[in-house]
Symmetry: C2
Subunit: 366 residues, 2 copies
């Protein structure tokens, strides 16, 4: 076995697996295309790289949250349609227009703001309209929806190409909320016969064709998180996160490990300290609850996750698998993102979007 | 009242308050100087900006975790001494030498590696040696410490300018662990009469002069987190985090808010959606537990923190304090970092180092 040595932590992003996931989601979406969520820097994996890979795989529409996120995506996919979920915020209109970004209009106030921009531009401006159907977060509320449907002239001057809503509980097994949202959205959607429509996020796509309308909007499934609620996962792991061993020490029974002495050794053993911490986005709530892998051996995280370091029990690992700079897998095929997140009391979305900036980032299979 | 409008979230870093905290810590450290922890990008606030501000305020030594972090700090403070906590990792020696960074040697293996570098360089290389005294994370373990003290020639060729250890429980009220670590460190330190020595982090400095040796090593206290265990905080808040309102909606009793419908309105009211989420480092564990402030009104976070958005109950806030783009304070004088972190089940260190990259960053009082 060659002794692979990492000078610092490494994040490997497998673009072939990303494209594989794209195809699985497309298949689940049946006859309709899917638009990729690439907000939050492509779920932490690099919005430009992810967008370009998906565009090369046939994806033609993308969603970001902020105008500032849309600009680098536009550079990566010059011909794609890019929606901005936060919509037209005061002061962002020039950038929306300059970079050909389509705001998702979430309220009558945003509709009016964008109409004013269209009037100033002297031409119809593209728009997506978001209707809330039970999430109570973004999108026209019931009262505003009624007002708009009674006064469609409020959209004059805008080219509404897409209407959407968002499912709150598609990932909650047995929830009746998706069906309720579907029932509310269908008649609204019918009022926009010239626009395409979408409702389903990753989990929603797998709820079946009733939820597909004209487009799916997958996010986490593309990046390897499961869209299913039965505990299985048809997606490939896209991310591998490895951190080097900085030190291995012998510890005696009764010795304490880490801040607050939260872990005490119950036998003589060995502890490995690895160069990765919560400042790298590895959630502190993983303290004493996670597992790493070195040379194929599972090694439990013991003690608190600290800012730049974690400590793992390597008592049962042979000496020859431990060396200065040896890579420890914290996320990957042995430690899928859903499992790592769940052990920290969170979800894969937070795990990925918290990934920090101190890694060496490596893209493979471009 | 002028209607201040934010197009996107804004992180304001007050460098006068940073310098104020530096002076408070210096005062607590009495006659010895302090070295600033600027690892993890200066606790998320910008290592270059923070280092330059502290150097201008008299700070001459700095600590980072990784070699890669030392390089921009070197550019910001050309004359300072910069220690690298992870020490000499295989492959990083050329950068350590080129940028005049001092590795903190944590093991006999790292000592041997750095000696080899010194031999190759043909001159003594600067080094800090870290002895573990109960943290069991980084630093020579008891067996390695004994071995080194019995064979000091192992350090030949190295210019050991500093020796250190690290307190595991200085922030745990009533812990007897610091006193035990002090007792172990004092005789080790005595074996290096030509080196300076340090033991105390922020909380350790406030434990009293026995812990001061020749230098304090404050981190979180500089950035506004309390170094005290009695619930009080003598430090100034350095960071203000504000996010704009994207939408305000009317909600009826019984309406659900956000993913998983975890919050249900018990009365008619209003919900504000704000452009900030866990992708911005605002921990998802704040779901349903945090508080924001708009126009001086406290507004509880309701429902789940999502990737790019949070929802807050603004039912009791007058209409005139709510507008598209209105700034909501999530961290600041009204929401100190320790309180915000504690509500999320975490600590200020994680809150700051998780701060994302989508903010407009503004430095004031440079």
């Amino acid at each position: 076995m060659s002794r692979r040595v990492l000078p610092s932590s490494q994040l490997t992003i497998d673009l072939a697996r990303l494209r594989h996931n794209h195809q699985i989601v497309r298949q689940a979406a049946g006859s309709v295309p899917v638009a990729a969520m690439v907000k939050a820097n492509g779920y932490g994996l690099g919005a430009a790289e992810v967008s370009a890979a998906l565009a090369a795989d046939g994806c033609t529409e993308f969603f970001v949250a902020h105008v500032g996120e849309g600009i680098p995506v536009r550079a990566a996919v010059p011909d794609a349609k890019i929606h901005v979920l936060n919509g037209a915020m005061p002061g962002t209109e020039p950038d929306l227009i300059a970079h050909n970004l389509v705001p998702v209009l979430n309220s009558l106030e945003q509709i009016d703001l964008w109409r004013t921009s269209a009037s100033g531009a002297g031409r119809p401006l593209g728009a997506t309209v978001h209707f809330d159907t039970g999430m109570s977060r973004l999108g026209l509320a019931a009262d505003e929806t009624a007002e708009l449907l009674n006064d469609p002239a409020r959209l004059d001057g805008l080219a509404v190409g897409h209407v959407m809503s968002h499912l709150a509980s598609a990932d909650v097994a047995g929830s009746n909320q998706p069906a309720g949202q579907l029932e509310l959205f269908a008649p609204i959607r019918a009022r926009f016969p010239n626009a395409t429509a979408s409702l389903a996020n990753s989990a929603g796509i797998f709820l079946g064709s009733a939820y597909h309308f004209d487009m799916g909007r997958p996010g986490i499934a593309l990046y390897g998180g499961t869209p299913l609620t039965d505990g299985s996962n048809p997606m490939a792991q896209v991310v591998t996160l490895e951190a080097p061993i900085v030190q291995v020490r012998n510890v005696a029974p009764g010795e304490h490990i880490g801040y607050g002495a939260t872990h005490t050794m119950d036998r003589a053993g060995k502890v490995a300290t690895v160069a990765l911490g919560y400042a790298d986005g590895f959630l502190r709530s993983s303290s004493g609850r996670g597992t790493g892998y070195v040379g194929g051996h599972a090694i439990p995280i013991i003690g608190r996750v600290s800012m730049d370091l974690i400590t793992l029990d390597v008592s049962d690992v042979p000496e020859e698998a431990l060396w200065l700079g040896a890579p420890v897998e914290l996320i990957g095929d042995q430690a899928p993102i859903d499992d790592v997140a769940s052990r920290a009391g969170s979800i894969a979305n937070e795990l990925l979007t918290d990934l920090g900036t101190r890694y060496q980032r490596v893209y493979v299979n471009e």
